[in-house]
Amino acid sequence: MILQVENPVVEVHDLTVSYDRKPVLWGVDLTIPAGALVGVIGPNGAGKSTLIKAMMDLLPSGSGYVRLFDKQIKDVRKRISYVPQRESVDWDFPASVFDVVLMGRYGNMGLFKRPRQADKDAAMQALTKVGMQAYADRQISQLSGGQQQRVFLARALAQNADLYFMDEPFAGVDIATETAIIELLRTMRDQGKTVIVVHHDLQSAADYFDWVVLLNMRLVASGPTEKVLTQELLEQTYGGKLTVLSKVGDLLRKQEFPSRETKVKRVKS
């Protein structure tokens, strides 16, 4: 069940990604429609974060290409925004909540430029949207997990992008934050933005997303939620490891073998 759409926001073609020569994603082919709230779902180690990182060109791909808005990523950086995993940074960094949200404007400002008043306004608006305006001056190490997640979300919102990638925004947050975040994501979807969320909880997935990508080292399914979240496809995703696939991957790493004989260049736009 891999449904391809016309005029996709994201188009992934034959994407293979390796860590230290061991492929963690094999030949992914998928398209994502505009204005969808998308869940990327699969077991631990399925390559969910890897997929969205490869989509944003944060990881080198072994083969295949990704096109966003039918362009190469470097031409559309301003239209995409990323919410990394909360644990990926050191929250003891000397910065206030407002400082971090303002970082969302750095791309718009350009190099060397100082934040303008308009940038500060945008950052404050984003903070208000996540209900954290009262915490603007707070040192970031004093925040709870849920509040840290909201700050990261606000930073992404401050970018005013069209396509959002979020890595486990619901991991380790309180119920109030989870509800607030999903409400916000729905509002964004209703405004025509596309939101791609890495998610690990199957229970809430059916309720949260209108498009689901099932992943376990390879693409199992991609399509509207009601067609994808079926017993059979879930069993394929979660049922048993692909032992042979893992073993082959290990072998590639040990023998320092390339996963493709020649690297396919990204197509030029």
């Binding site: 944060l58 995409i80 990926s88 050191d90 206030s96 750095y106």
Partner: protein, 427 residues
């Protein structure tokens, strides 16, 4: 004292050079060190410091002069190569960064010492003084050095000012910087170059061996005093500059004293003081907080004790002697007397020759502690399903830290209960 004013008047040109030079060096390397520290690459500075020695020696061998600019260029090149080598080893092999730093540091330093020894035995008269690079020669800085330092120091400060926002994001969240299209590789290169530059000028003053301290110590000390990056940079620069001036002063008053090591000693002293005295995070602040908590617990326990006695006998007005209190609860007599005295001074207790009694305010405060204790016991049995004989110990500590807002929440969640798990009235 006379010497102090003599020093401050800068009448002696040599004093002027040494002081200004030390200040510029220490200040500018402290600013760069802040970013290295936040990037969690504190050890890298040490590797670079050791790796510049072969560069200095090679530059001397090739040029035959001790012109500071030429030596700086040589130092810069090998310092830079060492960083590239560390990156190369970590990305292309299984060797972790700390091991790679250790490897590169010792190999480069070894080559440096080898070259230095060869130069010293070559009989070249111009070589005298080259070994000063090992431990620094701040006390013999001359005008030419000062010009070189000033240029580099200004460059460093200007670069951090211009790229402030970029470096900040690079240190906080590199991946995110990449997604918004920042040239992360370029910025990394910039920070590397700044680090190498800071080290290269810094070793002139404090030498190869102590240079790492000049980069990291002011940054670590400044971090204790502030949670703002901008303030941290300024503080680190000031602390660095101060240690530079102070080091110069020490070697001025006692010419036998080496300037470089003194600069390092003074900045280390500042770091230790920061560690002890910084508000909130320093250990003196922590000790004070602990003492305050202890006092609060003692006082509230005494109030609670008197309240419980009054409650049991339905009589709050009788004065009770110390012995009666101590029978009910084992508090060391000396502590109890101290606490009772404090509470009397605060107006919560009255004392007659028969003993102690609660004032009106004392009753109110004692009642609150008892109420919180019983509420918490009830909360634990209802929400955590703990056995009622296990909850007392927990409540003994929690009763002292519950805020009025939390008390209100507890009351709401427990639906304004009347009895605790031991069927005692909740006042």
């Amino acid at each position: 004292m006379k010497e102090f004013f003599e020093f401050l008047s800068f009448a002696d040109a040599n004093v002027r050079y040494v002081t200004l030079g030390s200040m510029l060096l220490a200040g500018s390397s402290a600013v760069v060190g802040c970013f290295t520290l936040l990037r969690k690459r504190a050890l890298v500075g040490d590797a670079v410091a050791h790796a510049v020695l072969p560069g200095v020696c090679l530059a001397f061998i090739l040029s035959g002069t001790k012109n500071p600019f030429i030596l700086l260029i040589g130092a810069f090149i090998t310092g830079w190569i060492s960083l590239v080598a560390i990156d190369f080893i970590t990305s292309r092999s299984r060797i972790k960064e700390d091991t790679a730093i250790g490897l590169v540091l010792s190999v480069f330093f070894g080559i440096g010492i080898l070259l230095l020894t060869a130069i010293q035995h070559s009989g070249n008269a111009a070589q005298s003084g080259l070994d000063k690079f090992l431990f620094g020669k701040a006390a013999s800085l001359v005008g030419e050095d000062l010009i070189a330092f000033s240029i580099v120091a200004v460059l460093l400060l200007a670069a951090t000012l211009i790229f402030y926002k970029e470096l900040k994001l690079l240190c906080f969240d590199e991946t995110y910087a990449k997604t918004i299209g920042f040239p992360v590789r370029g910025l990394e290169l910039l920070l590397t170059t700044l680090t190498v530059l800071a080290v290269v000028v810094g070793i002139q003053a404090v030498g190869v061996v102590l240079m790492a301290a000049m980069l990291i110590t002011p940054a670590a000390a400044a971090r204790f005093w502030t949670d703002r990056l901008g303030v941290m940079l300024v503080l680190a620069a000031l602390m660095g500059a101060f240690s530079g001036v102070a080091g110069a002063y020490v070697s001025y008053t006692a010419p036998a004293m080496p300037t470089g090591p003194w600069i390092v000693l003074i900045i280390s002293m500042i770091a230790i003081l920061s560690f002890a005295l910084a508000p909130g995070k320093g250990w003196i602040a922590r000790i004070i907080r602990r003492q305050r908590n202890k006092k609060l617990i003692l006082e509230e326990n005494l109030l609670k004790l008197l309240y419980q006695l009054g409650e049991a006998k339905q009589d709050f007005s009788t004065n009770r002697p110390l012995q009666e209190l101590l029978q009910k609860r084992a508090i060391p007599a000396k502590e109890a007397k101290y606490g009772l005295g404090k509470l009397k001074a605060q107006g919560y207790l009255e004392k007659t020759k028969n003993g102690w009694a609660l004032t009106h305010e004392g009753i109110t405060r004692g009642r609150r502690v008892v109420r919180l204790h019983r509420l918490w016991e009830l909360y634990l049995t209802q929400y955590l399903h703990l056995a009622s004989d296990h909850v007392h110990e927990d409540a003994e500590t929690i009763e002292h830290i519950i805020t009025p807002e939390l008390e209100q929440r507890l009351l709401e969640e427990l639906n304004y209960p009347a009895l605790d798990p031991h069927s005692a009235q909740i006042p």
